[in-house]
Amino acid sequence: MSAVGGAAGPVLQVEDLRVRFQRRGEVATHAVDGVSFAVAPGETVGLVGESGCGKSVTSLATMGLLPKRGVHVSGSVKLDGEELLGAGDRTLRKLRGKDMAMVFQDPLSSLNPTVTIGTQVVEVLAEHRGMKGDAARREAEDLLDRVGIPDPRRRLGEYPHQLSGGMRQRALIAMSLACSPRLLIADEPTTALDVTIQAQILELLRDLVQGSGTALVMITHDLGVVAGLCDRVHVMYAGRIIETAERRDLFARPRHPYTGGLLASVPRLDGGRGAPLTPIRGSARDTIPWTQGCAFAPRCDVALDDCLVEVSGSEVELADDGAGRQLRCRHPLTPAVPTAGAHP
């Protein structure tokens, strides 16, 4: 658990969250394996990692949106102190959209193609704020206007396919923020958008969140997004958090070799033409179970024998590393290494 400032306590507190997918007769997959973090009001927290590291499953589990069959969730997820895991469908439904909301990756498929934007926005207003008819319509118009959609009245009558990608994402954000939720989870909200729109959407999210004190969880694999938006970053690998740090600290001094690798693999403008990219070796499939050692060890450049449980006799634990930082590594990088890695 990371320290959280503010007397009011965290908006979201996730403790030892575990999600296991298991189908009858098959080996279980530990998608999320003991993740803990907290988000304070007005704070933006990033969950970073490559595909399959468990960041989306963490967010879906938080919202209670995982299917029930074949999925085992344990641990604790508290929204303003209220336990969400094991809460009834009705309770969760009342909270979703009102106290916690989520923005998804693909704005086109996240909108119903057969229904107008207006109807979809009004639906949320009707559900949580009991608004109807003209009042709801006016409020919907106001919401679209607030997220920077020009000519909102006309857009309300249009269908999702008539809007541009950026506008669709704005509409979805408007729907998510219709009830000023305490917590907003954005699951790769800019991945499906082009770069110029990405920047606009991120700016919009930042403005909206800062204005209202909403806690924002930003799920992304894009370190650029993290750099621009997040106060605190949790780097995930194979279902566990491997490094936690303040944003500046993380970028200046990555300690985990995986974090270092992520930073080094970002293409650099000052690298010169033809400078080779520095990817992390292998793929997310080349992991070993945490029970056998550091899951990243097979891909790690600095791994030693004692990264394996076989040799050291104990699992690699997430430990405090000073200055609000946590680290799960036996052989952290010295601050000099990532700079060297970026200029081979």
């Binding site: 979703r96 057969t114 006309r154």
Partner: protein, 314 residues
């Protein structure tokens, strides 16, 4: 001179700029339905299908005005002899049947029965089938299992056999015939809608709606169902063709409407069978009508499928 030209150009650019971002014509949303209709209008196959269907519908509606004679009057009965039926002649362009009744008029009136039975039975099958499909698709679990096993049982009985059994069970009348055909349509619609709903239920927009706390009933009826309808609409159109053929087949087998005051193509076909060696064309006409109408609905259905399903778009 050149300055004026420049001014004019600038004005034009300003006008263009002012227009940019405005809706051009026909302001407002373009729904999927409307864009599907637009695509249909450009599809020659759809147009052929639609024309056939419209022609038959018009003929059926206006039958009393269009038919040259009373379809029941045995006008030329006097000319019919053992082994002889008078052929086409003045006032009887398609000849008469063995009871001296005008074939053309009977065909025209026959379209009423065929279309009516086709439409009513398909709508009936559609409504019941969709009800079962929604039940299975929305609730899942044991409801789904129960409904689908029931549907499987219906589906395992051949359509015509089922229709014959039902019409024997319900007696020989028009309504029994409609219900019998509807029963054979039910499992098709139920399965189709359930499958379609299952595939839509886990789509992003459904999850997004859940993430916004929208009620389950609202998600099912407001989001999942409307997106699941297009294969059902297509099947409905195609089913009209099957229903008409089935209706004709049942009448042909003597399970149709016993009321001879309502001519029907299947029954005409059955009657023509008796005189097949003398006047084979009497069998050809109603058969041709059945084929063409069925073809019309099929063409329309297939192009509807293409218009509604973006994956089919070429």
């Amino acid at each position: 001179m050149s300055a004026a030209l420049g001014d004019r150009r600038r004005e034009k650019i300003d006008a263009l700029a002012a227009r940019a971002g405005q809706v051009p014509e026909g302001e407002g949303g373009v729904s999927l339905t409307r864009s599907a209709i637009r695509r249909l209008r450009r599809d020659p196959v759809a147009i052929i299908g639609a024309v056939i269907v419209v022609v038959f519908v018009v003929v059926a509606v206006l039958a009393p005005l269009l038919a040259p004679r009373d379809p029941l009057a045995q006008t030329l009965l006097g000319q019919v002899r053992q082994g002889f039926i008078p052929g086409a002649q003045d006032g009887f362009p398609l000849g008469v049947d063995q009871l001296g009744r005008d074939t053309l008029s009977r065909l025209i009136y026959g379209s009423r029965q065929s279309l009516l039975i086709g439409v009513v039975s398909t709508v009936l099958g559609l409504v019941v089938g969709m009800g079962l499909g929604v039940l299975a698709g929305a609730f899942g679990g044991w409801v789904d299992t129960l409904v689908m096993r029931f549907v499987d049982i219906l589906l395992s009985i051949p359509g015509l056999l089922m229709a014959i059994s039902v019409s024997v069970l319900l007696g020989r009348n028009q309504y029994a015939l409609m219900i019998a055909i509807a029963v054979t349509q039910v499992p098709v619609f139920a399965r189709l809608l359930r499958g379609s709903m299952l595939s839509q239920r886990d789509k992003d927009y459904a999850v997004a709606a859940r993430a916004l706390g929208v009620k389950r009933s609202r998600i099912v009826f407001g989001h999942v169902l409307p997106n699941s309808l297009s294969p059902v609409i297509v099947q409905g159109t195609l089913s009209l063709a099957t229903a008409i053929i089935e209706a004709a087949a049942l009448s042909f087998l003597g399970l149709g409407d016993p009321d001879i005051s309502r001519p029907e193509w299947g029954a005409m076909l059955a009657n023509a069978q008796e005189v097949l060696s003398i006047r084979p064309e009497l069998a050809v006409y109603p058969a041709l009508c059945i084929i063409v109408v069925a073809l019309g609905f099929t063409l329309l259905g297939e192009s509807l499928r293409e218009a509604l399903d973006p994956k089919f778009r070429r």
